[in-house]
Symmetry: C2
Subunit: 208 residues, 2 copies
């Protein structure tokens, strides 16, 4: 293993330990879903182009209403591209996301057809694509974190985004780093968060 | 293996073959994402309760904005419960979905807090939960298909759904069956659908 690979492996092992200390599934779900978590620390290590595209390929195969595949990606990787994104990401998120080697603005084409029809499922379907991105990234040893804290109007203006495109989330993607690389203000929160009980999300079926 | 397990295994093997004949990923994505597809045929085989909850457990661990976990599930399994759902699912979808042993109305709590704030990411986050449901079901040898073709007003009325809950999709869940169990009108479409090229979903970054 190269030095980088060894380092990455260590970080992964630590993070797996962390996850089981913080999350206990109630049913025997595939570990993939529980071990993925949205950290904020990113290593100063570039994401190879084929790794980025493999992550996006997972989104490509997500299900969508009428197979419309409404997800669209604006990708920032170079210094210049990331500078553009920094102009519209809110200061609180910039503290950590400035270190992410890849930023993806996940947007949606809201058009159902050429006749002005609207795809009512565009946000929902983009969410499925985002889920696949997060899971495939995790499977490749990368971390993701989606943020809603960015100035949508500014993003539209800076990137000249047409009206029929809606903005869903900015996704930070990269290799997870140790706590010491993260701004002090976020260190205590750099743990996998918990969930409400499944039973609280199941609503009672009762005929009116 | 029990008779049922052998049958299920055969169906799975056939479906895997089918998938590689219809779908070729451009990047080395985990097969999980490519082999999951939204079929319409369902075997007359109940879904055990622990299997259903394991599928929903995957959704439980999906990421969400501020960890609000806006997904909510109305589940129909008994004859009586499924009869309720049949009242609002549109006729074209009933032809195949009537055979699904489980129907899940995936809804969202749109509230951000107790003060009337709205969670702008509720549909997007529910989509991530749906993606996890579809993938975990696939990993357990089950099939899912989400539909938008149902009467939302009727569903609200029949299930007495409060205003702050929005309806996203009805998900059919069960074990996949052979073509012969599917209505003739859907047999030709019972194949994994394709996708546009990934490059078509990546939008150019250009400063205005």
């Amino acid at each position: 293993m190269s030095n980088n690979e060894t380092k990455r492996q260590n970080v992964l092992e630590v993070s797996l330990q962390d996850v089981s200390a913080h999350r206990t599934p109630d049913y025997p779900v595939n570990p993939l879903f529980v071990e993925r978590w949205s950290s904020r620390s990113f290593a100063d290590q570039p994401v190879p182009q084929d790794v980025l595209y493999t992550v996006l390929e997972a989104a490509r195969w997500a299900p969508s209403s009428n197979n419309l595949q409404p997800w669209r990606f604006y990708i920032a990787q170079t210094e210049e591209e990331r500078e553009l994104f920094k102009e519209f990401i809110l200061p609180g998120n910039r503290i950590w996301s400035d270190h992410a080697p890849v930023l993806i603005l996940l947007a949606t084409d809201t058009r159902r057809d050429e006749n002005g029809g609207v795809n009512g499922a565009h946000a929902f379907d983009a969410g499925a694509a985002w889920g696949s991105i997060a899971l495939q990234a995790h499977l490749l040893g990368l971390a993701t974190r989606a943020m809603g804290g960015y100035d949508r109007n500014k993003a539209r203006e800076i990137l000249d985004i047409p009206d029929y495109i809606e903005l869903q989330a900015v996704i930070a993607l990269g290799y997870r780093a140790g706590l010491d690389t993260l701004d002090e203000r976020f260190r205590e929160r750099e743990i996998p968060n918990e969930r409400r009980a499944l039973s609280n999300s199941i609503l009672e079926l009762k005929r009116k």
